[in-house]
């Protein structure tokens, strides 16, 4: 990443020297302290400090990755409208700060599991744009070989456990992963993410009970974007203070549009979970798109609200302001970066479009781990005939 920034900087050698002097910070990791926008609200614990340690490199990488995520989601929107992506497609734009802040606080040994709004989290975990688009379009080079689709992204080597269609069900899975981490004595935690809609599922409380009983290193993260599909949170939950719902489990409410607040909270949560068991984080965030591509997103909320949030709380704008105020790059450079990103995304899409669809025999692979040598037929015994591998 540093190299690409260097190369993009090379075209400014012709600029006046005073500007060139500023560029020398592009590769160094000068520490910067950033204040979060809002204080944390805590339940049964002491909130962490508002000052977040960061570095110039981190700040720029936040901007770059969030812009990439935003661009990817918008591109997915157009692909869906072009009918190259079908079925369900749930977009994450507006919520990028949660994914990026979380990644900054943890390692690849810590596990993340989430529901179906998983494209950006997959990217944050180290997935490539090509894999994302190939999977969205159902091609065989997708991360799940084209057999999962938008809602089933997984990346085992970076401990990303998906990607689940039934909301709420991933939280017990996440607590199970935390259990396995404790069992194998890895010093790692699991972030089980869910939304404000799924927060009303009973299995969350069951899993929380077991996690608290057995002291599991599980962190429940509620991405509260205030709407469960079309239902506003005040219509679905008697108590919308999701961070307090753990009752005996501590909780923290975080401004989810501020990547540094998210980073600080996740760091705090990881330390807490390794010592004291589960904790709930509520990320106060917002999604610009509707629930999914079939939802315009404006029947249950006003356009003014959406544009208001975009103007005042947009996570990328916030990082941009920080970058500019700390003099890490100019407007033009950031715009160039965005152009580069756009190109990167377009290239990935073009490459993914060229990727072939999975073979028909793939229909029967991975149903069982070892095949049984039986034959499988299509419904009319004519269409597809394959020997299970």
């Amino acid at each position: 990443m540093a190299l690409s920034r260097l190369s993009s900087r090379s075209n400014i050698i012709s600029r006046p020297l005073s500007a060139a002097f500023r560029r020398s910070i592009s590769t160094d990791t000068t520490p910067i302290t950033i204040e979060t926008s809002l204080p944390f609200t805590a339940h049964l614990c002491d909130p962490p400090s508002r000052s977040v340690e960061s570095s110039t490199q981190e700040l720029l990488s936040f901007f770059r990755t969030m812009a990439l995520m935003r661009r990817m989601e918008i591109a997915a929107d157009s692909l869906y409208k072009a009918k190259l992506i079908r079925g369900f497609c749930h977009l994450y734009d507006g919520q990028e700060a949660v994914a990026i802040g979380m990644e900054a606080a943890i390692t690849k040994k810590d596990a993340i599991i989430t529901a179906y709004r998983d494209h950006c989290i997959f990217l944050g975990r180290g997935g490539s744009l090509y894999e994302v688009f190939a999977e969205l379009m159902g091609r065989q080079d997708g991360c799940s070989r084209g057999k999962g689709g938008s809602m089933h992204f997984y990346k085992k080597d970076s401990s990303f456990y998906g990607g689940h269609g039934i909301v709420g069900a991933q939280v017990p899975l996440g607590c199970g992963i935390a259990f396995a981490q404790k069992y194998s004595k890895e010093e790692a935690v699991t972030f089980a993410m869910y939304g404000d809609g799924a927060a009303n599922q009973g299995q969350l409380f069951e899993a929380l009970n077991i996690s608290a009983l057995w002291d599991l290193p599980s962190i429940l993260v509620c991405e509260n974007n205030h709407y469960g599909m079309g239902t506003a949170e005040w219509r679905a939950a008697k108590s919308p203070s999701y961070y307090k719902r753990g009752d005996y489990v501590p909780g923290l409410k975080v401004d989810g549009m501020d990547a540094f607040a998210v980073k600080q909270a996740c760091k705090f949560a990881k330390e807490h979970a390794l010592k004291n068991g589960p904790i709930i984080l509520e990320m106060d965030t917002y999604r610009y798109h509707g629930h999914s591509m079939s939802d315009p997103g404006s029947t249950y909320r006003t356009r003014d609200e959406i544009s208001g949030v975009r103007q005042e709380r947009d996570p990328i704008e916030r990082i941009k302001k920080l970058v500019l105020s700390h003099d890490l790059a100019t407007e033009k450079e950031l715009k160039d970066m965005e152009k580069e990103i756009r190109k990167e995304v377009d290239d990935a899409i073009a490459k993914a479009k060229d990727c072939p669809m999975p073979e028909p025999s793939e229909l029967f692979t991975n149903v069982y781990v070892k095949g049984f040598g039986t034959e499988s037929f299509g419904a009319d015994r004519k269409e597809v005939k394959a020997a299970l591998p």
């Binding site: 596990a111 599991i113 997708g142 991360c143 799940s144 070989r145 084209g146 057999k147 999962g148 689709g149 089933h152 997984y154 990346k155 085992k156 456990y161 998906g162 990607g163 689940h164 269609g165 039934i166 069900a169 939280v171 017990p172 899975l173 996440g174 607590c175 199970g176 992963i177 259990f179 396995a180 981490q181 404790k182 069992y183 194998s184 009973g202 299995q203 069951e206 899993a207 009970n209 077991i210 009983l213 057995w214 692979t365 991975n366 149903v367 069982y368 781990v369 070892k370 049984f372 039986t374």
Partner: protein, 365 residues
């Protein structure tokens, strides 16, 4: 292996199991059951108090394995075996696997300190500790989900449902996550979980505790289902299920927990996808599994007396079916009587041996 025949009304005859796969270890099976007030079943119980704790009704539901023809003993296991009850066989299998692989753990309600509601996990908590034998609160959905999540990372949990009917609460986890994850992740994750529990008609346990759920789980892709019926195959299937990389649902039966049989001392595994030939024959194939096996064997006795030669296959593997064995058998006999299992408690809705005899006679007309 000495045959222990308990006399009386021609009932207790030696039953030898000759299996289809000659490579597999074979042990002649004796099923001696605790004493009942029964005309047909004569067995002298080897002092098992456990049987008394099982609420025994009046009738002769638990019947000695009354096979009709004595097969020559296939000598696969020479040497001493040891006799035990089915739940002990399950426990032995579980314990051996837990010794062998530190990734195996057990979770369920009352499996730890209480020893298991049917004593299958008795003693394991003392031996392996609380981290490997986990008492869960009553939340099937959550702890099944947790077992599946743990399996995704490489642990091998054995999830016990206190009763198969309770696992309906976890159906979403079993169906959507357990069965599908290997497929939807393109092969990245395997779920080597074993979900086991007793089901089926007990003794007046009530409608909700007497369900047979095989047909519900049958439609879930990606899982294997097996049903055990004797201590020998219970231990073998338990071990094979734990070692399998696929999610396996092991169906046990409440009323079979006290079956006694001699099993080999040495380690053995039963093939998960294979059916067991209980009694070879020529005229008609009767497919059965779990408790119905015993009803069928009793009916077989009547049938032989009437001149038929039934072939009885215990299908054991419910999903996927062992079509090879079954197919060969049906090709031989060209007639097939599956014995499905009714799910309610009334005596006359459970298929009785007499009904099996009638069905066979009708088919052979």
């Amino acid at each position: 292996m000495a045959a222990r025949i308990h006399g009386g009304a021609g009932a207790g005859a030696a039953t030898a199991l000759s299996t289809f796969n000659p490579k597999k270890l074979v042990a002649p099976s004796r099923t001696n059951l605790p004493a009942r007030s029964s005309k047909r079943c004569i067995v002298a119980a080897a002092g098992s108090d456990a049987s008394k704790s099982l609420r025994v009704g009046h009738s002769q539901k638990l019947i000695a394995n009354a096979a009709v023809a004595t097969k020559a003993e296939t000598s696969a296991t020479t040497g001493t075996g040891h006799e035990l009850l089915l739940f002990e066989a399950l426990q032995e299998g579980l314990e051996e696997e837990m010794d062998r692989d530190p990734h195996v753990c057990v979770m369920g309600e009352d499996v730890g300190h209480y020893g298991g509601s049917y004593k299958v996990t008795k003693g394991l908590a003392d031996k392996f500790g609380d981290l490997r034998v986990l008492d869960t609160p009553i939340c099937e959905n959550a702890f099944t989900g947790m077992g599946i999540g743990a399996a995704m990372t490489g642990l091998r949990p054995v999830i016990e449902g206190m009763n198969m009917g309770f696992l309906l609460l976890a159906f979403n986890q079993i169906s959507n996550n357990c069965g599908m994850l290997h497929y939807t992740s393109g092969g990245q994750f395997t779920i080597p979980v074993v979900i086991r529990g007793p089901g089926g008609v007990g003794r007046q346990l009530g409608a909700e505790h007497s369900q047979r759920l095989e047909s519900y789980f049958q439609s879930i892709p990606g899982i294997q289902m097996v049903a055990c019926s004797t201590p020998y195959n219970a231990k073998g299937l338990m071990k094979a299920a734990i070692r399998s990389e696929n999610p396996v649902i092991l169906f046990e039966h409440v009323l079979l927990y006290n079956l006694k049989e001699k099993i080999p001392d040495e380690e053995y595994i039963c093939n998960l996808e294979e059916a067991e030939m209980v009694r070879p024959g020529e005229h008609i194939t009767i497919l059965t599994y779990s408790r119905m096996r015993y009803h069928v064997m009793q009916a077989a006795k009547t049938l032989v007396n009437k001149g038929y030669d039934p072939e009885v296959i215990d299908i054991r593997s419910l999903k996927p079916f062992d079509l090879y064995t079954i197919g060969n058998s049906v090709k031989k006999t060209h007639r097939d009587v599956p014995t499905p299992y009714a799910g309610t408690l009334e005596e006359w809705t459970v298929v009785q041996p007499a009904q099996i005899v009638t069905a066979v006679e009708q088919l052979c007309q």
